[in-house]
């Protein structure tokens, strides 16, 4: 019996994987490279996809996660090149994106991953729990805290602890 092709409809998958990667490493060439690498690996190991273990997007995000975790240390931050854009020159939509990505970049690695999976790749808490191999409840709590910290980064009052500054190399 023939298996279902996990990459049968690639376009939405590309968008979700890119959003996840970009929330983690910052929008730009690095995110594009990592997305390409993810799909190259996915094509190479397509036979390893098991529909019983989850949706194709979960499988792809698992690969993307390994690509992001396995990359070398970075010197520049997403927030740094986001600063380069002058608010007066770009449209409001672009400003909003940059502001959000800057705020996400201030979070620590774990929070950023959760935010990327939940709001970038649009996974449910349960799917994230399956992917990270933790309990759904733990993910929900961690996500709530991450959003609270992000609110803090936006300058809003929240009970969440202050945002930790992201390390320069990573």
């Amino acid at each position: 019996m023939l298996r279902r092709d996990p990459l049968a409809n690639p376009e939405p998958l590309i968008r979700r994987v890119y959003a996840y990667v970009a929330y983690r490493v910052g929008d730009g060439p690095d995110a594009e490279d990592l997305t390409s690498e993810t799909f190259e690996r996915a094509l190479r190991y397509k036979k390893s996809y098991d529909p019983k273990k989850g949706e194709p997007v979960q499988w792809l995000l698992g690969i993307a996660k390994r690509c992001v975790d396995g990359r070398g240390p970075r010197l520049e931050l997403a927030s740094e090149w986001a600063d380069e854009a002058a608010p007066g020159d770009v449209e409001e939509e672009a400003i909003r994106r940059l502001t959000v990505s800057r705020a996400v970049a201030t979070l620590d690695e774990r929070d950023r991953e959760l935010i990327a999976l939940r709001y970038g790749a649009d996974l449910t808490a349960r799917q994230i729990a399956d992917l990270l191999d933790v309990r759904t409840n733990a993910i929900e709590v961690a996500l709530h805290r991450a959003v609270g910290r992000l609110r803090g980064a936006f300058g809003e009052t929240d009970d969440a602890p202050p945002v930790r500054k992201r390390e320069a190399t990573r």
Binding site: E11, I14, F39, S101
Partner: protein, 138 residues
Amino acid sequence: MRYWRRRQEPFDLEAELRAARPEPSNELVRTLESRVRNDGRTRVGTLRVAFVGALTAVMLVALGSVGGVGYASSAAQDAAVSVKRVVQPKKVVRVLKKSPAIDQYGGKKKVKKKVKKAKKGKGAKGKVRARTRPPFTG
């Protein structure tokens, strides 16, 4: 900054995170999409060849089990002979009339009598007469 001024009113951070989700460039989407689709096409081609090969093997086994291979080979031989007959130039066919029936009843062989030429001279005439008539006894 307009964005920050606008954000003074309470806003839904989660909706904002979804709306401001980073988007890949169209070029990246096109490139990756074509890469994925081309890979799929190659695999489909390979699968087709494998399927045809497997089908042929199955058919050979099935036919072999009921003697179809021998039947097919003899049919092919017959066809080859027929083609050969049509294509090859015709030879003169020599029919041999030789059978037991012909030996027993049929063969009217014309036996040529050896007629000796009469020799010239008396002696020769006398001899001839003596052979054709009864001997003179007186």
